[in-house]
Symmetry: D3
């Protein structure tokens, strides 16, 4: 199995422990980015995963590339440039104070990518799947065009395509997102989104999808997925619902619309070590289970269990094996293994 | 708005992570002290906040002073001496084992402060508010006299005064506290205390104020506040009730008696990052909201939300802005902000 | 009071914070081992505690020895060898992912211990109690014989004996454990075990001992203990039941069968700082309370409170005093002590 | 004494210990910038020092501002903007491998400063000295114009002006530097530079100023200073010469041309803890000694001793007192002081 | 260019800073091993470098593999086993106390490698060079046979071979080394060794090769190399001489015998950050320069400059680029680059 | 061999790396004190070493006691009190800036020791040697009397006595030192001092003992020792001379006057990791070599080599074995041992 993803890899700088940025005398350096996270997660599952991207030549760009190599991602198609490395600062939250992301990614080597940097027919030769998130076109420049190039090549080569909506209000408005994403959606087989973004960015009117008490309104979520699937001819729509209790605890649930049926997963309530990247872990789990020929119910269960585990891993990358995801599905909570 | 506070600033030494003092190979250095914490918190809210204190000349005293400057507190009226810096060691707790404070503050430069060190009429000129906690007179020496000097100057200049009872059994007995505080109370406009200390130190008989299950007995707390207000002619009495579940979780509630009415805030149940300084954050929130002309209900809500957030900040200082307090009041729990 | 224990002391290497071994750039070094943990815990209670063991001569072996000395354990009877130091790597868990122990203890200086290394009559002279866990004979070589030597000496000298079953599937099969332990059990006064191991290793058929919802089936647990006590003529059987909610929270309960009666302790639900060594803390608490002449109910209460506190201490060693255990029994949860 | 400086404050991110950026899992955060460093150093000497600058509103910008406040710099005239905070990454060097600075400062809030941000007549009222380095105009945009505004105000108010040439090849070419700086130089009283930059940027032909063996050619350096002083009517020219032995050791010497005479200081050969900011420490020392009315020889001696000490301080800021500089001049090397 | 190496990769555990193992509360984890170090260094030079090895399946084995991938080494031919990961503990030295290596590598997955684990004709297809050090056969078991297999395949495929003598007294005696290495030497093109090992292991009598004062006796070193080249028909012999001043400083020199001529490099005297791996850096530099068609003088200069830089890099791996080595050769010592 | 020492054990708090106290966000905690350092050093040499002292009951006092136990010192005779633990802050120096000790030891449990705390005849029974430094009587209170008690007991029991002058200007004046020490000196067999203190505190006029260039004036140092030996009937006088090059390098030499002859050791020039405690290491080395029956030349050589190694150990304690001292004497500088 070979999966190709396309997106930016950033350096993430976050204070140690629970410190605020105001207090921090040192910052931990991780690397992450929506599509890179998907690629790393797939590589841990044993999939041949490629990140297509663009990074600066200098030591920080090389460090970012090395982080991908370390976890087994194929980096042959990462172009190199002279611009800066995209950064983001992550301040951990606490009770009553949300975690906070401060983007410092403008003018990065990735944002300056050009269509000529990527020969998609060569890159996608032999690929089984292509994954993209809404963040990549949101970065503007020629990136929407490059996404279109990639999707056209997927179409030509018969590569299946997933898109994670991944809406970020700090990057673009809902209207722009809708305008830019609309021409891309016909090329997409599997749409992944959280419930709120699916409703708002793609303008689906289904009413309040959350019941009082945080429970999901299953009927409305099903309607949402079905509407989307029909409108854009998606073969499947995966929706995740997140319920934040505090910066260190929350719950997640998911539904997969496939074969004209809604398949709901169980809900996980979790202590959170690191919230960032769990949506990408969900996407990777879904792609892995789909490529592995699992049933729709198994797919959504695997994807959500992967997302659950991602909350317990420091950094953006979901460094768990497929066996560990399966163990959570099979055994539930266990004492120390020794 | 200009607020003046008077108290000691200590260096706090605590093990990293969850280590016991017995295990610690290194100690984190923070700075804190009841009134200093109030000043820092007010400075984060944009108030012009002054700490009047006394610190040694040497490098540690300078480091303490610099910690105040860093967070925007006016240090012009900090006298300097040749004695030592007050210290305290803080051992974090765990389930079934309370956090523990080990004071090492005797003979500090502050404990040796003299009346001539402080020209209160000059210091308080232009001030809107003066804040003191019971810890300052508890340190003995000439400090009770200096407190009396300050309060007399407040009276002369029309500066409003708040006193946080802040009873510490390790510093003085209840009887001594009562004897020393009694002559100061007539100068106080707003009394701040937790329910237990208010009852015990000021000898108010209202019966058990906590219901089984940890709920507050609203009627008795109201009686307590009203009795205090009437006895000492306070314009307002703010009472906080703390319910400790374990060293890492607990809940807080509060009531403000003002305008002859009891205003109860909601209760917050929190994961605790750092318990120390949350009472001072409450005092700072109350002063800020009062000076800002908020209603009694808004005052107690703002003060308790500030105290809630303080549990999520490492160190004694409550490094949150007024906007962050307001966001908790307005939005409740939120996912990562990006 | 003098208590002698016999077992291996290993270096434990674990990542900082919540990192996986895959991510770790540094490892914290603690020392631990079932019987060593018991000895250290007893020394904190003021008992004269001796660990009999075998350690390499080199710097790491000396560091291990020093860790025992630091916490007041008598190390006069630790033999020294030329082999390696046993290690284990501990990866912290998270929600849905159990903590994991990776043993690297084969061929250690302890595994190569010889009968001539230990003069048990000399070692045990003046001892009140001897404690052993199932891990020591599980390490094979001549260790089962050495255990038999020690128990024979206890018998000769009238030293009371406790055995903690401490079954580790990674070290031996249930059948081997049963075969090797059976000849040792007649020398044992007090058996300590968790419920599952007691049933499975010693082949007691009592049915499911856990009710749905995680509650203990008291009648069956009592039957289990009574059956064991009768079969092997134990004067007491202490059973602990652990209920894992996640890698960072869980609950524990215990029962002591003594004087032909079952004494159940309360259940503690805890946030977990460090799970390893809590069973050893239970054993140490039981030995301490028994030697101190406490009643059966007091013994099981003290032992379980000690085990509860052990979950809040970093490392294998339960660095709490008897007074701290008693305070938990007397006061329950408290706010910061200052 | 009041000194005003104008320049950018950046966050500096550097690996711990001797790690390369390629290896770094965490970065230490310091703050620095040529003129900010001068201001901090002067504040440690007891001078009233002001940094005029522009910083973003967000948490990182506030952290930068707090770093200045912590060390006593007046920040009243720091404008705030919406752009990013300038960063630089500093990789420590080793034998045969120079330390390396990787700038990431484009598009910062400071680079977007506008003339209207600064009311120079108000800012400079009551100032005794204004200090600028060549880095500020090198950042382009309207910064050269703002520098011209400041210098014009200095001229109007009779404030003395020092300029540190501080040429950075990564920021601008020598030709551009010459073109932009030329109109500013007539406003400058004291020029500070290292010998190489003075020769190359200002196109002074004096031949090789370093003898084989690293010794300075005193006659040529004197000629260089004299030529500069005459060409631009500087009242004094201070030239520093640096001799790099390795990334962790080197030597420095200096000469001050004043009163038509060359005053040479001794040479210091030093182990280097942190090389960055030592030139700024020299400038601060020179300004301090000049304002204090010291003789030319004392000025250059004080400035170079300050620069020497700066090599032993972590971070850009030279956190030493005037007394410590004087002690080096008076006592030389000393054993532990206790 | 493609270079294949064969050897063990170990986890190295060393205290932070200057601590002794006796004091260490935490250990830094690096990965290293003679041939792995060569492969990593070559990969930094842009060479396609392969490490053939055997690692355990578990998390530590995977972490070791990931360390190679991170730095661009091809790991396709790393076999996986069930045994343990080889470890070594490195205690830093100080003045008068040498750094100390404590091996804990017995019974590792690599030591249990079997001939069937490696298909050398497939592995070496397309390779330009094969590198081995004496450590691999020193580990015993079937490793000498596997080395013979590899060398036979090199012979069959025309792949050039270098052997670094790398004698370790802790692993085998000189006699055993001589006996085991002798049948391998006819397959070797380039011998690399330090002067002492070359003399002692291969029993060459040339007299004292070091002059008083630490200078090398050029004539005798030349005789040594020539004798070796003639005896074993090496095309080249590279000898490095190390002069230890203290644990933190020393000097190195080297000579390459090639084309019947001795080519001596300059001597570097260095502050040492990390001494381990510098010999491997020398080997990698020599291979790189030889494959690049450089002259004998250039080869030895490049190799020694690479070794010099390795002393300034934390960990075993020489993380410097070919351009950085060349810069040292071209520019010598430089100030901060910015 | 059994050696008893008497003195205070303090907690030492020092910044990490090279930070100033002004910058420190965390402090490393070591334990040390002149006589405690001697005891620990002797215990590493295999001597049965006892520290007689007084420590607080609380967690910090226990941590101090544990530090002694960890390194094998007999702590049976450490009395416990309710006062505070003595502290000292150590700021590392750099080029041109000396390391600095900030004492915070007033009113410690040791300073409040009483004569009844120590039963010297019991404590010294079976001891071969008693060691004291001038710091203990310098702390005042009843400590000079307790010292006199101890020395009288030594006299009664025939225990040999060494006194390290260890003059600290921060603790007492030279006149007071002279007055307090004079009655103790007749009980002393071996006087240890550095040259300067010996001259100044004991008022010996011998002229300048250091030649220009830092060389020792052997004749005058010999005269000094001989004069002291004769005046006080010392059996031996050991004088150490320290030459500080910078905070991180220096040289030491020593002379032992014994058998009416001066025995000079070689001089060591060292890179310094941690300067504190090297004089105590010298004393320990001298005691060890004397008790071991070594010749005067061997004694001073061993003592100075021990002092040399102490400069390379973090913390006050000289954690080296006698074999390591001997290896420095026998082998000089060595490369990595593996």
């Amino acid at each position: 199995m070979r999966v190709v993803t396309f997106g930016e890899l950033l350096m993430r700088l976050s204070p140690f422990g629970q410190a605020r940025l105001l207090q921090a005398e040192a910052l931990r350096a991780h690397f992450g980015g929506a599509e890179a996270n998907v690629a790393v997660s797939l590589a841990q599952f044993g999939v041949e995963a490629t990140l297509v991207s663009r990074l600066p030549q200098h030591a920080l760009g090389q460090a970012a590339l090395n982080a991908l190599r370390r976890y087994g991602v194929d980096v042959r198609y990462v172009a190199r440039g002279d611009e800066r490395l995209g950064l983001y600062f992550l301040e951990p939250g606490a009770h009553g104070r949300p975690a906070q992301v401060l983007y410092d990614r403008a003018d990065s080597a990735f944002a300056h990518a050009q269509r000529a940097d990527f020969d998609w027919l060569a890159i996608l030769a032999g690929a089984d799947w292509f994954h993209l998130s809404g963040i990549t076109p949101a970065l503007g420049g020629t990136l929407p065009d490059i996404c279109a190039d990639a999707l056209a090549a997927c179409h030509a080569l018969g590569v299946r395509v997933s898109l994670d909506l991944n809406y970020r209000a700090a990057l673009w408005s809902r209207d722009t997102a809708f305008a830019v994403l609309t021409p891309l959606l016909p090329f997409v087989d599997v749409l992944i989104a959280n419930v709120e973004h699916a409703k708002e960015v793609l303008s689906i009117t289904v009413g309040e999808t959350e019941l009082s008490g945080g429970e999901i309104n299953r009927a409305r979520v099903q309607t949402l997925a079905q509407t989307l699937a029909e409108r854009y001819a998606f073969s499947a729509v995966a929706l995740m619902q997140r319920n934040t209790h505090s910066a260190s605890s929350g719950s997640i649930g998911a539904m997969l619309w496939a074969d004209d049926t809604a398949h709901f997963s169980r809900t996980y309530t979790m202590q959170i070590v690191d919230r960032v990247g769990s949506g990408d872990a969900f996407a990777a789990g879904l792609i892995y289970a789909t490529l592995g020929g699992q049933s729709p119910q198994e797919r959504v269960d695997f994807a959500l269990a992967a997302a659950c585990l991602a909350h317990g891993i420091e950094g953006d990358f979901n460094l768990v094996s497929a066996a560990e995801v399966q163990r959570l599905l099979d055994c539930g909570t266990e004492d120390v293994r020794r």
